[in-house]
Protein backbone atom coordinates (compact mmCIF):
# COMPACT_ATOMS: atom_id res chain seq x y z
CA UNK A 1 0.00 0.00 0.00
CA UNK A 2 3.00 2.26 0.54
CA UNK A 3 3.31 2.78 -3.22
CA UNK A 4 0.20 4.99 -3.06
CA UNK A 5 2.33 7.70 -1.48
CA UNK A 6 4.08 8.17 -4.80
CA UNK A 7 1.05 9.05 -6.85
CA UNK A 8 -0.54 12.30 -5.81
CA UNK A 9 -1.77 15.60 -7.11
CA UNK A 10 0.44 18.67 -7.40
CA UNK A 11 -1.31 20.12 -4.36
CA UNK A 12 -0.42 17.02 -2.36
CA UNK A 13 3.27 17.37 -3.16
CA UNK A 14 3.23 21.11 -2.48
CA UNK A 15 1.72 20.44 0.93
CA UNK A 16 4.39 17.83 1.71
CA UNK A 17 7.08 20.23 0.48
CA UNK A 18 5.75 22.99 2.71
CA UNK A 19 5.77 20.68 5.74
CA UNK A 20 9.32 19.55 4.98
CA UNK A 21 10.48 23.16 4.75
CA UNK A 22 8.85 23.96 8.08
CA UNK A 23 10.45 20.87 9.64
CA UNK A 24 13.84 21.86 8.24
CA UNK A 25 13.54 25.41 9.56
CA UNK A 26 12.53 24.27 13.02
CA UNK A 27 15.27 21.65 13.04
CA UNK A 28 17.78 24.47 12.57
CA UNK A 29 16.28 26.15 15.62
CA UNK A 30 16.37 22.85 17.52
CA UNK A 31 20.04 22.55 16.62
CA UNK A 32 20.73 25.79 18.48
CA UNK A 33 18.85 24.37 21.46
CA UNK A 34 20.99 21.23 21.30
CA UNK A 35 24.23 23.20 21.32
CA UNK A 36 23.26 26.05 23.64
CA UNK A 37 21.01 24.04 25.94
CA UNK A 38 17.44 24.45 27.11
CA UNK A 39 18.48 27.93 28.21
CA UNK A 40 17.07 29.10 24.87
CA UNK A 41 13.59 28.29 26.19
CA UNK A 42 11.57 30.31 28.67
CA UNK A 43 11.78 27.54 31.24
CA UNK A 44 13.65 28.20 34.45
CA UNK A 45 14.56 26.78 37.83
CA UNK A 46 11.04 27.24 39.22
CA UNK A 47 9.01 26.58 36.07
CA UNK A 48 11.05 23.62 34.91
CA UNK A 49 8.53 22.25 32.42
CA UNK A 50 6.83 24.33 29.77
CA UNK A 51 5.38 24.27 26.29
CA UNK A 52 7.00 20.98 25.26
CA UNK A 53 5.62 18.87 28.10
CA UNK A 54 2.23 20.53 27.91
CA UNK A 55 2.01 19.72 24.16
CA UNK A 56 3.09 16.17 24.95
CA UNK A 57 0.23 15.92 27.43
CA UNK A 58 -2.28 17.37 25.01
CA UNK A 59 -1.36 15.00 22.20
CA UNK A 60 -1.50 11.92 24.40
CA UNK A 61 -5.13 12.94 24.73
CA UNK A 62 -5.52 13.29 20.97
CA UNK A 63 -4.00 9.84 20.53
CA UNK A 64 -6.32 8.31 23.11
CA UNK A 65 -9.38 9.87 21.51
CA UNK A 66 -9.38 7.37 18.64
CA UNK A 67 -11.18 5.12 21.09
CA UNK A 68 -14.30 7.27 20.73
CA UNK A 69 -14.64 5.77 17.23
CA UNK A 70 -13.29 2.31 17.97
CA UNK A 71 -15.44 1.67 21.03
CA UNK A 72 -18.86 2.35 19.44
CA UNK A 73 -17.83 0.57 16.24
CA UNK A 74 -16.52 -2.63 17.80
CA UNK A 75 -18.22 -2.84 21.23
CA UNK A 76 -21.61 -1.60 20.05
CA UNK A 77 -21.37 -2.59 16.36
CA UNK A 78 -22.14 0.96 15.31
CA UNK A 79 -21.39 0.45 11.62
CA UNK A 80 -21.61 4.12 10.63
CA UNK A 81 -18.21 4.78 12.18
CA UNK A 82 -16.47 2.06 10.19
CA UNK A 83 -15.79 4.36 7.26
CA UNK A 84 -14.05 6.97 9.42
CA UNK A 85 -12.32 4.71 11.90
CA UNK A 86 -9.05 4.32 10.00
CA UNK A 87 -8.58 8.10 10.04
CA UNK A 88 -8.92 8.11 13.81
CA UNK A 89 -6.42 5.29 14.18
CA UNK A 90 -3.94 6.96 11.85
CA UNK A 91 -4.38 10.26 13.69
CA UNK A 92 -3.53 8.40 16.90
CA UNK A 93 -0.29 7.21 15.30
CA UNK A 94 0.66 10.75 14.26
CA UNK A 95 -0.23 12.00 17.76
CA UNK A 96 1.93 9.38 19.50
CA UNK A 97 4.85 10.26 17.21
CA UNK A 98 4.40 13.89 18.25
CA UNK A 99 4.29 12.88 21.94
CA UNK A 100 7.58 11.03 21.63
CA UNK A 101 9.18 13.99 19.86
CA UNK A 102 7.90 16.49 22.43
CA UNK A 103 9.59 14.40 25.13
CA UNK A 104 12.84 14.20 23.16
CA UNK A 105 13.03 17.95 22.52
CA UNK A 106 12.40 18.55 26.21
CA UNK A 107 15.31 16.39 27.37
CA UNK A 108 18.51 18.05 28.53
CA UNK A 109 20.52 15.04 27.31
CA UNK A 110 18.41 13.57 24.47
CA UNK A 111 21.15 11.19 23.35
CA UNK A 112 20.67 9.42 26.69
CA UNK A 113 16.93 8.90 26.21
CA UNK A 114 17.46 5.14 25.97
CA UNK A 115 18.55 5.17 29.65
CA UNK A 116 14.84 4.85 30.43
CA UNK A 117 15.02 1.37 28.88
CA UNK A 118 18.59 0.53 29.86
CA UNK A 119 17.84 1.28 33.50
CA UNK A 120 14.15 0.42 33.87
CA UNK A 121 12.79 2.08 36.99
CA UNK A 122 9.34 0.71 37.84
CA UNK A 123 8.78 3.23 40.63
CA UNK A 124 8.66 6.05 38.06
CA UNK A 125 5.39 6.79 36.27
CA UNK A 126 7.43 7.87 33.26
CA UNK A 127 8.59 4.27 32.84
CA UNK A 128 4.97 3.13 32.49
CA UNK A 129 4.14 6.07 30.27
CA UNK A 130 6.88 4.96 27.88
CA UNK A 131 5.54 1.40 27.86
CA UNK A 132 1.91 2.36 27.24
CA UNK A 133 2.78 4.87 24.53
CA UNK A 134 5.01 2.45 22.62
CA UNK A 135 2.34 -0.22 23.05
CA UNK A 136 -0.38 2.09 21.78
CA UNK A 137 1.71 3.07 18.76
CA UNK A 138 2.26 -0.58 17.86
CA UNK A 139 -1.40 -1.47 18.38
CA UNK A 140 -2.61 1.29 16.09
CA UNK A 141 0.00 0.51 13.45
CA UNK A 142 -0.98 -3.16 13.36
CA UNK A 143 -4.75 -2.58 13.57
CA UNK A 144 -4.73 0.28 11.07
CA UNK A 145 -2.61 -1.56 8.57
CA UNK A 146 -4.38 -4.91 8.80
CA UNK A 147 -7.91 -3.48 8.58
CA UNK A 148 -6.96 -1.18 5.70
CA UNK A 149 -5.28 -4.05 3.83
CA UNK A 150 -8.45 -6.09 4.28
CA UNK A 151 -10.54 -3.23 2.94
CA UNK A 152 -8.22 -2.94 -0.07
CA UNK A 153 -8.65 -6.64 -0.82
CA UNK A 154 -12.39 -6.32 -0.18
CA UNK A 155 -12.27 -8.96 2.55
CA UNK A 156 -13.27 -9.10 6.19
CA UNK A 157 -10.30 -8.36 8.47
CA UNK A 158 -8.77 -11.52 9.99
CA UNK A 159 -10.41 -12.66 13.22
CA UNK A 160 -7.25 -12.36 15.32
CA UNK A 161 -7.23 -8.60 14.87
CA UNK A 162 -10.38 -8.35 17.03
CA UNK A 163 -8.30 -9.20 20.08
CA UNK A 164 -5.94 -6.31 19.39
CA UNK A 165 -8.84 -3.95 18.69
CA UNK A 166 -10.45 -4.75 22.06
CA UNK A 167 -7.05 -4.39 23.69
CA UNK A 168 -6.57 -1.00 22.05
CA UNK A 169 -9.79 0.25 23.64
CA UNK A 170 -8.52 -0.45 27.14
CA UNK A 171 -5.07 0.69 26.13
CA UNK A 172 -6.35 4.09 24.99
CA UNK A 173 -7.76 4.75 28.45
CA UNK A 174 -4.50 3.64 30.01
CA UNK A 175 -2.26 6.01 28.06
CA UNK A 176 -4.06 9.10 29.25
CA UNK A 177 -4.56 7.77 32.77
CA UNK A 178 -0.86 7.09 33.13
CA UNK A 179 -0.06 10.52 31.69
CA UNK A 180 -2.34 12.07 34.32
CA UNK A 181 -0.48 10.06 36.98
CA UNK A 182 2.72 11.86 35.95
CA UNK A 183 1.13 14.91 37.51
CA UNK A 184 -1.43 13.66 40.01
CA UNK A 185 1.04 11.76 42.20
CA UNK A 186 3.41 14.60 42.96
CA UNK A 187 3.27 15.93 46.52
CA UNK A 188 3.44 19.68 46.84
CA UNK A 189 2.11 20.69 43.40
CA UNK A 190 -1.33 21.82 44.49
CA UNK A 191 -2.87 22.24 41.05
CA UNK A 192 -1.92 18.70 40.03
CA UNK A 193 -2.45 16.81 43.28
CA UNK A 194 -6.05 15.88 42.59
CA UNK A 195 -7.65 12.48 42.18
CA UNK A 196 -9.84 13.79 39.37
CA UNK A 197 -6.86 14.62 37.15
CA UNK A 198 -7.06 11.37 35.14
CA UNK A 199 -10.82 11.74 34.72
CA UNK A 200 -10.35 15.35 33.61
CA UNK A 201 -7.67 14.30 31.17
CA UNK A 202 -9.89 11.63 29.65
CA UNK A 203 -12.95 13.83 29.34
CA UNK A 204 -10.96 16.66 27.78
CA UNK A 205 -9.30 14.19 25.40
CA UNK A 206 -12.58 12.60 24.37
CA UNK A 207 -14.05 15.94 23.35
CA UNK A 208 -11.01 17.65 21.83
CA UNK A 209 -9.54 14.65 19.97
CA UNK A 210 -12.68 13.75 18.01
CA UNK A 211 -13.29 17.47 17.44
CA UNK A 212 -9.86 17.78 15.80
CA UNK A 213 -10.62 14.66 13.78
CA UNK A 214 -13.94 16.07 12.57
CA UNK A 215 -12.36 19.41 11.65
CA UNK A 216 -9.70 17.60 9.65
CA UNK A 217 -12.39 15.43 8.02
CA UNK A 218 -14.20 18.59 6.90
CA UNK A 219 -10.96 19.86 5.33
CA UNK A 220 -10.49 16.47 3.69
CA UNK A 221 -14.01 16.52 2.32
CA UNK A 222 -13.41 19.89 0.73
CA UNK A 223 -10.03 18.87 -0.71
CA UNK A 224 -10.74 15.33 -1.88
CA UNK A 225 -14.47 14.81 -1.69
CA UNK A 226 -14.18 11.99 0.85
CA UNK A 227 -17.43 11.80 2.78
CA UNK A 228 -17.29 10.41 6.33
CA UNK A 229 -21.07 10.10 6.36
CA UNK A 230 -23.49 12.64 7.81
CA UNK A 231 -24.92 10.24 10.37
CA UNK A 232 -21.41 9.39 11.65
CA UNK A 233 -20.53 13.08 11.97
CA UNK A 234 -23.72 13.73 13.93
CA UNK A 235 -23.13 10.81 16.30
CA UNK A 236 -19.53 11.79 16.91
CA UNK A 237 -20.63 15.37 17.58
CA UNK A 238 -23.00 14.04 20.25
CA UNK A 239 -20.13 12.15 21.86
CA UNK A 240 -18.00 15.31 21.73
CA UNK A 241 -20.79 17.32 23.35
CA UNK A 242 -21.22 14.88 26.23
CA UNK A 243 -17.47 14.68 26.81
CA UNK A 244 -17.15 18.48 26.82
CA UNK A 245 -20.01 18.81 29.34
CA UNK A 246 -18.26 16.32 31.60
CA UNK A 247 -14.94 18.11 31.08
CA UNK A 248 -16.35 21.49 32.12
CA UNK A 249 -18.20 19.85 35.03
CA UNK A 250 -14.98 18.24 36.30
CA UNK A 251 -13.17 21.58 36.17
CA UNK A 252 -15.97 23.15 38.20
CA UNK A 253 -15.54 20.37 40.78
CA UNK A 254 -11.94 21.51 41.20
CA UNK A 255 -13.16 25.06 41.75
CA UNK A 256 -15.63 23.95 44.42
CA UNK A 257 -13.13 21.90 46.40
CA UNK A 258 -10.50 24.64 46.25
CA UNK A 259 -12.70 27.57 47.18
CA UNK A 260 -15.20 25.99 49.59
CA UNK A 261 -12.43 24.31 51.57
CA UNK A 262 -10.63 27.66 51.51
CA UNK A 263 -7.24 25.94 51.67
CA UNK A 264 -4.72 28.45 50.31
CA UNK A 265 -2.62 25.86 48.50
CA UNK A 266 -5.62 24.66 46.51
CA UNK A 267 -6.86 28.14 45.72
CA UNK A 268 -3.62 29.87 44.80
CA UNK A 269 -2.92 28.30 41.37
CA UNK A 270 -6.53 28.96 40.33
CA UNK A 271 -6.37 32.53 41.58
CA UNK A 272 -3.09 33.00 39.74
CA UNK A 273 -4.49 31.58 36.50
CA UNK A 274 -7.69 33.62 36.53
CA UNK A 275 -6.84 36.74 38.52
CA UNK A 276 -3.08 37.08 38.63
CA UNK A 277 -0.89 37.67 41.65
CA UNK A 278 -0.23 40.73 43.78
CA UNK A 279 -2.00 43.06 41.37
CA UNK A 280 -0.16 41.70 38.32
CA UNK A 281 -1.95 39.71 35.68
CA UNK A 282 0.19 37.26 33.72
CA UNK A 283 -0.34 36.60 29.99
CA UNK A 284 -1.87 33.25 30.85
CA UNK A 285 -4.84 34.92 32.57
CA UNK A 286 -6.12 36.35 29.27
CA UNK A 287 -5.82 32.92 27.71
CA UNK A 288 -7.63 31.25 30.60
CA UNK A 289 -10.57 33.64 30.35
CA UNK A 290 -10.63 33.16 26.59
CA UNK A 291 -10.83 29.41 27.27
CA UNK A 292 -13.79 29.92 29.62
CA UNK A 293 -15.66 31.98 27.04
CA UNK A 294 -14.81 29.58 24.20
CA UNK A 295 -15.81 26.55 26.27
CA UNK A 296 -19.23 27.90 27.15
CA UNK A 297 -19.81 29.35 23.68
CA UNK A 298 -18.99 25.99 22.09
CA UNK A 299 -21.37 24.24 24.49
CA UNK A 300 -24.08 26.77 23.67
CA UNK A 301 -23.70 25.81 20.02
CA UNK A 302 -23.42 22.07 20.64
CA UNK A 303 -26.10 21.31 23.22
CA UNK A 304 -29.24 22.51 21.33
CA UNK A 305 -29.87 19.86 18.61
CA UNK A 306 -30.94 22.48 16.07
CA UNK A 307 -27.58 24.25 16.30
CA UNK A 308 -25.56 21.07 16.71
CA UNK A 309 -26.91 19.57 13.49
CA UNK A 310 -26.22 22.75 11.54
CA UNK A 311 -23.26 21.72 9.43
CA UNK A 312 -22.36 25.33 8.67
CA UNK A 313 -21.99 26.22 12.36
CA UNK A 314 -20.43 22.95 13.47
CA UNK A 315 -16.82 23.71 12.41
CA UNK A 316 -16.88 26.95 14.44
CA UNK A 317 -18.27 25.21 17.52
CA UNK A 318 -15.67 22.46 17.26
CA UNK A 319 -12.87 24.96 16.64
CA UNK A 320 -13.79 26.89 19.78
CA UNK A 321 -13.96 23.65 21.76
CA UNK A 322 -10.51 22.58 20.57
CA UNK A 323 -9.01 25.97 21.41
CA UNK A 324 -10.60 25.97 24.88
CA UNK A 325 -9.34 22.49 25.71
CA UNK A 326 -5.90 23.33 24.32
CA UNK A 327 -5.58 26.39 26.54
CA UNK A 328 -6.72 24.41 29.59
CA UNK A 329 -4.38 21.46 29.05
CA UNK A 330 -1.74 22.88 26.71
CA UNK A 331 -1.04 26.05 28.71
CA UNK A 332 -2.91 26.34 32.00
CA UNK A 333 -2.06 22.89 33.31
CA UNK A 334 1.69 23.49 33.32
CA UNK A 335 1.69 27.17 34.28
CA UNK A 336 -0.79 26.52 37.10
CA UNK A 337 1.21 23.53 38.30
CA UNK A 338 4.39 25.54 38.67
CA UNK A 339 2.80 28.78 39.90
CA UNK A 340 2.99 29.53 42.72
CA UNK A 341 6.34 27.75 42.94
CA UNK A 342 7.64 25.62 45.81
CA UNK A 343 8.28 28.77 47.83
CA UNK A 344 4.72 30.04 47.32
CA UNK A 345 6.16 32.78 45.12
CA UNK A 346 5.62 33.57 41.46
CA UNK A 347 8.29 32.98 38.83
CA UNK A 348 7.11 34.05 35.40
CA UNK A 349 7.26 31.76 32.39
CA UNK A 350 6.79 32.83 28.79
CA UNK A 351 7.69 30.47 25.93
CA UNK A 352 10.44 31.94 23.76
CA UNK A 353 10.37 32.28 19.98
CA UNK A 354 12.78 29.37 19.57
CA UNK A 355 10.71 27.21 21.91
CA UNK A 356 7.59 27.90 19.86
CA UNK A 357 9.51 27.21 16.63
CA UNK A 358 10.67 23.81 17.89
CA UNK A 359 7.11 22.99 18.97
CA UNK A 360 5.85 24.04 15.52
CA UNK A 361 8.40 21.70 13.97
CA UNK A 362 6.99 18.80 15.97
CA UNK A 363 3.51 19.83 14.88
CA UNK A 364 4.74 19.79 11.27
CA UNK A 365 6.20 16.30 11.66
CA UNK A 366 2.84 15.18 13.09
CA UNK A 367 1.07 16.74 10.12
CA UNK A 368 3.49 15.03 7.73
CA UNK A 369 2.94 11.59 9.27
CA UNK A 370 -0.80 12.19 9.26
CA UNK A 371 -0.81 13.36 5.62
CA UNK A 372 1.11 10.32 4.43
CA UNK A 373 -1.02 7.84 6.37
CA UNK A 374 -4.28 9.50 5.33
CA UNK A 375 -3.13 9.55 1.70
CA UNK A 376 -2.83 5.78 1.79
CA UNK A 377 -6.19 5.42 3.53
CA UNK A 378 -7.93 7.72 1.03
CA UNK A 379 -6.53 5.86 -1.96
CA UNK A 380 -7.68 2.54 -0.51
CA UNK A 381 -11.14 4.01 0.18
CA UNK A 382 -11.30 5.21 -3.43
CA UNK A 383 -10.43 1.75 -4.67
CA UNK A 384 -12.92 -0.01 -2.40
CA UNK A 385 -15.79 2.35 -3.13
CA UNK A 386 -16.11 3.71 0.43
CA UNK A 387 -15.39 7.23 -0.63
CA UNK A 388 -18.18 9.47 -1.84
CA UNK A 389 -21.80 10.05 -0.88
CA UNK A 390 -23.95 6.96 -0.51
CA UNK A 391 -21.40 4.49 -1.82
Amino acid sequence: MVERLLTGSKRYYMWLGFLCLLILASFCVYWTQLTEGLGVTGMNRDVSWGLYISQFTYFVGVAASAVMLVLPAYFHHYKKFKRMIIFGEFMAIAAVVMCALFIVVDLGQPQRAMNVMLHPTPNSVMFYDMIVLIGYLCLNLVIGWVTLEAERLDMDPPKWIKFFIYLSVIWAFSIHTVTAFLYAGIPGRHYWLTAIMAARFLSSAFCSGPAILLLLMFVLKRLTGFNPGEEAVKTLTKIITYAMCINVFFYCLELFTAFYSNIPGHMEPLIFLFAGHGGHVAWVTYWMWAAVILAFASLAMLIPPSLRDNMKLLPYALGMLVLASWIDKGLGLLVGGFTPNMFEAVTPYVPTFREIMVALGVYAIGALVLSLLWKIALDVKKGSGHFGEGE
Binding site: E36, G37, L38, G39, T41, M43, N44, R45, D46, S48, W49, I103, D106, L107, G108, Q109, P110, R112, A113, N115, V116, L118, H119, T121, N123, S124, V125, M126, F127, M130, L182, G185, I186, P187, G188, R189, P264, G337, F338, N341, M342, F343, E344, A345, T347
Partner: protein
Protein backbone atom coordinates in the same frame (compact mmCIF):
# COMPACT_ATOMS: atom_id res chain seq x y z
CA UNK B 1 22.82 -1.87 41.86
CA UNK B 2 23.23 0.94 44.40
CA UNK B 3 26.70 -0.25 45.21
CA UNK B 4 27.91 0.15 41.69
CA UNK B 5 26.22 3.51 41.35
CA UNK B 6 27.83 4.79 44.46
CA UNK B 7 31.17 4.44 42.84
CA UNK B 8 30.40 6.79 40.01
CA UNK B 9 32.60 9.57 41.32
CA UNK B 10 35.40 7.15 41.73
CA UNK B 11 34.67 5.65 38.34
CA UNK B 12 34.64 9.09 36.76
CA UNK B 13 38.03 9.86 38.26
CA UNK B 14 39.54 6.55 37.29
CA UNK B 15 38.09 6.77 33.78
CA UNK B 16 39.55 10.23 33.30
CA UNK B 17 42.90 8.91 34.49
CA UNK B 18 42.61 5.87 32.24
CA UNK B 19 41.66 7.92 29.21
CA UNK B 20 44.53 10.35 29.65
CA UNK B 21 47.16 7.71 30.34
CA UNK B 22 45.96 5.08 27.90
CA UNK B 23 45.54 2.35 30.49
CA UNK B 24 41.79 2.10 30.11
CA UNK B 25 41.91 -1.68 29.89
CA UNK B 26 43.83 -2.09 33.11
CA UNK B 27 41.82 0.56 34.94
CA UNK B 28 38.52 -1.03 33.94
CA UNK B 29 39.62 -4.32 35.40
CA UNK B 30 40.28 -2.59 38.69
CA UNK B 31 36.93 -0.86 39.10
CA UNK B 32 34.78 -3.94 38.68
CA UNK B 33 33.39 -5.20 41.98
CA UNK B 34 31.87 -3.58 45.02
CA UNK B 35 32.93 -0.34 46.59
CA UNK B 36 34.13 -0.30 50.18
CA UNK B 37 34.33 2.90 52.16
CA UNK B 38 37.80 3.80 53.32
CA UNK B 39 38.93 3.47 56.96
CA UNK B 40 38.74 7.21 57.46
CA UNK B 41 35.20 7.55 56.09
CA UNK B 42 32.54 9.02 58.34
CA UNK B 43 29.69 6.54 58.57
CA UNK B 44 26.07 6.73 59.67
CA UNK B 45 22.83 4.87 59.26
CA UNK B 46 20.91 8.04 58.51
CA UNK B 47 22.74 11.32 58.07
CA UNK B 48 20.86 14.41 59.22
CA UNK B 49 21.57 18.10 59.68
CA UNK B 50 20.46 20.48 62.40
CA UNK B 51 20.80 24.18 61.66
CA UNK B 52 20.76 26.37 64.75
CA UNK B 53 19.27 29.48 63.18
CA UNK B 54 19.48 31.27 66.56
CA UNK B 55 23.22 31.55 66.09
CA UNK B 56 22.88 33.45 62.82
CA UNK B 57 21.83 37.07 63.10
CA UNK B 58 21.93 38.17 59.48
CA UNK B 59 22.20 36.92 55.94
CA UNK B 60 25.92 37.73 56.02
CA UNK B 61 26.39 35.12 58.73
CA UNK B 62 25.31 32.43 56.29
CA UNK B 63 27.59 33.63 53.50
CA UNK B 64 30.65 31.59 54.55
CA UNK B 65 28.53 28.41 54.52
CA UNK B 66 27.15 29.05 51.06
CA UNK B 67 30.55 30.09 49.71
CA UNK B 68 32.17 26.96 51.15
CA UNK B 69 29.48 24.76 49.59
CA UNK B 70 29.55 26.40 46.18
CA UNK B 71 33.36 26.39 46.10
CA UNK B 72 33.61 22.77 47.16
CA UNK B 73 31.25 21.70 44.37
CA UNK B 74 32.19 24.15 41.63
CA UNK B 75 28.69 25.57 41.59
CA UNK B 76 28.45 28.05 38.71
CA UNK B 77 27.23 31.61 39.28
CA UNK B 78 24.62 31.85 36.52
CA UNK B 79 22.57 35.07 36.57
CA UNK B 80 18.79 35.08 36.14
CA UNK B 81 16.16 32.47 36.92
CA UNK B 82 17.99 29.61 35.19
CA UNK B 83 20.54 29.64 37.98
CA UNK B 84 22.14 26.76 39.92
CA UNK B 85 21.71 26.76 43.70
CA UNK B 86 22.87 24.14 46.18
CA UNK B 87 22.48 26.23 49.28
CA UNK B 88 20.77 29.59 49.38
CA UNK B 89 18.71 31.93 51.54
CA UNK B 90 15.11 33.07 51.56
CA UNK B 91 12.56 34.67 53.86
CA UNK B 92 10.83 32.66 56.56
CA UNK B 93 7.46 32.60 54.77
CA UNK B 94 9.11 31.23 51.63
CA UNK B 95 11.07 28.59 53.53
CA UNK B 96 8.33 27.47 55.92
CA UNK B 97 5.34 27.95 53.66
CA UNK B 98 2.96 26.03 55.92
CA UNK B 99 3.35 28.50 58.76
CA UNK B 100 1.01 31.28 57.67
CA UNK B 101 1.43 33.40 60.76
CA UNK B 102 1.40 37.10 59.93
CA UNK B 103 2.31 38.13 63.47
CA UNK B 104 5.78 36.73 63.91
CA UNK B 105 8.64 38.57 65.59
CA UNK B 106 10.75 40.73 63.26
CA UNK B 107 13.52 38.15 63.45
CA UNK B 108 11.30 35.85 61.38
CA UNK B 109 9.45 38.44 59.32
CA UNK B 110 12.64 40.00 58.04
CA UNK B 111 15.31 37.39 58.68
CA UNK B 112 16.79 35.02 56.13
CA UNK B 113 16.91 31.24 56.43
CA UNK B 114 19.07 28.72 54.60
CA UNK B 115 17.71 26.19 52.13
CA UNK B 116 19.26 23.03 50.74
CA UNK B 117 18.26 19.53 49.73
CA UNK B 118 16.43 17.87 52.63
CA UNK B 119 17.69 14.35 51.88
CA UNK B 120 14.22 13.02 52.65
CA UNK B 121 13.53 9.58 54.05
CA UNK B 122 10.75 9.28 51.43
CA UNK B 123 12.17 11.32 48.56
CA UNK B 124 9.64 12.12 45.79
CA UNK B 125 12.53 12.94 43.43
CA UNK B 126 13.81 9.36 43.67
CA UNK B 127 10.30 8.01 43.26
CA UNK B 128 9.74 9.85 39.97
CA UNK B 129 13.21 9.58 38.36
CA UNK B 130 12.80 7.33 35.28
CA UNK B 131 16.43 6.19 35.11
CA UNK B 132 17.56 5.84 38.71
CA UNK B 133 19.95 8.76 38.13
CA UNK B 134 18.92 10.12 41.50
CA UNK B 135 18.90 7.52 44.24
CA UNK B 136 19.02 7.02 47.99
CA UNK B 137 22.28 5.76 49.43
CA UNK B 138 22.50 3.33 52.36
CA UNK B 139 23.17 6.24 54.73
CA UNK B 140 20.10 8.27 53.76
CA UNK B 141 21.87 10.64 51.39
CA UNK B 142 20.04 11.38 48.12
CA UNK B 143 22.73 11.29 45.45
CA UNK B 144 22.87 12.16 41.77
CA UNK B 145 24.51 10.32 38.89
CA UNK B 146 25.24 13.15 36.46
CA UNK B 147 26.18 10.64 33.80
CA UNK B 148 22.91 8.79 33.81
CA UNK B 149 20.58 11.80 34.12
CA UNK B 150 18.68 12.38 30.87
CA UNK B 151 17.58 15.87 31.93
CA UNK B 152 13.83 15.19 31.93
CA UNK B 153 13.43 17.34 35.06
CA UNK B 154 10.70 15.11 36.51
CA UNK B 155 12.65 15.27 39.79
CA UNK B 156 12.37 19.07 39.78
CA UNK B 157 8.61 18.83 39.36
CA UNK B 158 8.57 16.18 42.10
CA UNK B 159 10.70 17.92 44.73
CA UNK B 160 8.42 19.90 47.07
CA UNK B 161 11.38 21.93 48.32
CA UNK B 162 12.70 23.43 45.09
CA UNK B 163 16.07 21.95 45.97
CA UNK B 164 17.06 20.93 42.45
CA UNK B 165 18.71 22.91 39.69
CA UNK B 166 18.94 22.09 36.00
CA UNK B 167 21.86 23.08 33.81
CA UNK B 168 19.90 25.07 31.26
CA UNK B 169 23.19 26.47 29.94
CA UNK B 170 26.77 25.19 29.96
CA UNK B 171 27.78 25.61 33.62
CA UNK B 172 31.49 25.49 32.82
CA UNK B 173 31.30 28.95 31.29
CA UNK B 174 30.23 30.32 34.67
CA UNK B 175 32.93 28.76 36.85
CA UNK B 176 36.30 30.38 37.58
CA UNK B 177 39.27 28.97 35.67
CA UNK B 178 40.97 27.07 37.26
CA UNK B 179 37.95 25.60 39.02
CA UNK B 180 37.69 26.28 42.77
CA UNK B 181 37.87 22.57 43.64
CA UNK B 182 39.64 20.37 41.05
CA UNK B 183 38.76 17.26 43.09
CA UNK B 184 35.03 17.62 42.43
CA UNK B 185 33.70 17.20 38.89
CA UNK B 186 32.10 20.08 37.05
CA UNK B 187 28.80 19.24 35.41
CA UNK B 188 27.78 19.12 31.79
CA UNK B 189 24.89 20.93 30.18
CA UNK B 190 21.41 19.39 30.45
CA UNK B 191 21.60 17.51 33.74
CA UNK B 192 20.08 18.15 37.17
CA UNK B 193 22.16 18.74 40.29
CA UNK B 194 21.73 19.55 43.97
CA UNK B 195 23.30 19.34 47.42
CA UNK B 196 24.84 15.93 48.13
CA UNK B 197 25.35 16.33 51.90
CA UNK B 198 29.01 16.26 50.79
CA UNK B 199 29.01 12.48 50.31
CA UNK B 200 32.41 12.83 48.65
CA UNK B 201 33.86 14.59 51.72
CA UNK B 202 32.30 12.11 54.16
CA UNK B 203 34.03 9.32 52.25
CA UNK B 204 37.35 11.00 53.04
CA UNK B 205 36.52 11.54 56.70
CA UNK B 206 35.63 15.22 56.30
CA UNK B 207 32.43 16.85 57.50
CA UNK B 208 30.25 18.68 54.94
CA UNK B 209 31.73 21.97 53.75
CA UNK B 210 28.90 24.11 55.16
CA UNK B 211 29.09 22.35 58.54
CA UNK B 212 32.82 23.00 58.71
CA UNK B 213 32.31 26.67 57.85
CA UNK B 214 29.56 27.14 60.43
CA UNK B 215 31.73 26.92 63.56
CA UNK B 216 29.31 24.71 65.45
CA UNK B 217 26.10 26.45 64.42
CA UNK B 218 25.23 23.60 62.09
CA UNK B 219 25.34 20.05 63.41
CA UNK B 220 25.68 16.96 61.29
CA UNK B 221 25.39 13.40 62.45
CA UNK B 222 23.58 10.10 62.61
CA UNK B 223 19.87 10.47 63.29
CA UNK B 224 19.70 6.80 64.24
CA UNK B 225 22.35 7.21 66.96
CA UNK B 226 20.78 8.56 70.22
CA UNK B 227 24.18 9.85 71.30
CA UNK B 228 24.91 11.84 68.17
CA UNK B 229 25.15 15.65 68.17
CA UNK B 230 22.05 15.96 66.04
CA UNK B 231 19.93 13.74 68.28
CA UNK B 232 21.10 15.64 71.39
CA UNK B 233 20.35 18.98 69.74
CA UNK B 234 16.89 17.78 68.73
CA UNK B 235 16.18 16.37 72.20
CA UNK B 236 17.12 19.63 73.93
CA UNK B 237 15.65 22.18 71.53
CA UNK B 238 12.47 22.85 69.62
CA UNK B 239 12.99 22.16 65.93
CA UNK B 240 10.96 22.49 62.76
CA UNK B 241 11.26 21.06 59.26
CA UNK B 242 10.01 22.25 55.88
CA UNK B 243 6.57 21.02 54.72
CA UNK B 244 6.38 18.12 57.22
CA UNK B 245 2.78 17.30 56.26
CA UNK B 246 3.88 15.86 52.89
CA UNK B 247 5.36 12.84 54.64
CA UNK B 248 8.75 13.13 53.01
CA UNK B 249 10.54 13.15 56.39
CA UNK B 250 13.18 15.78 55.65
CA UNK B 251 16.63 15.18 57.09
CA UNK B 252 17.32 18.89 57.65
CA UNK B 253 16.08 20.34 60.94
CA UNK B 254 15.94 24.00 61.94
CA UNK B 255 16.33 25.16 65.55
CA UNK B 256 14.23 28.28 65.82
Amino acid sequence: MNNSRRTFLKVAGVSAFALTTGVAGAAQAKIIGTYEQGDKALKAKRWAMVIDTRKFTSADDYKPLIDACHKAHNVPAIPGNQEIKWMWLDHYDRVFTDDMNANLPDKFKKGMFPLLCNHCTNPPCVRVCPTGATYKMHDGIIAMDYHRCIGCRFCMAGCPYGARSFNFVDPRKFIADPVPNPEYPTRMIGVVEKCTFCAERLAKGLRPACVEAANGAVMFGDLDDPNSDVRKALAENFSIRRKPSLGTQPGVYYLI
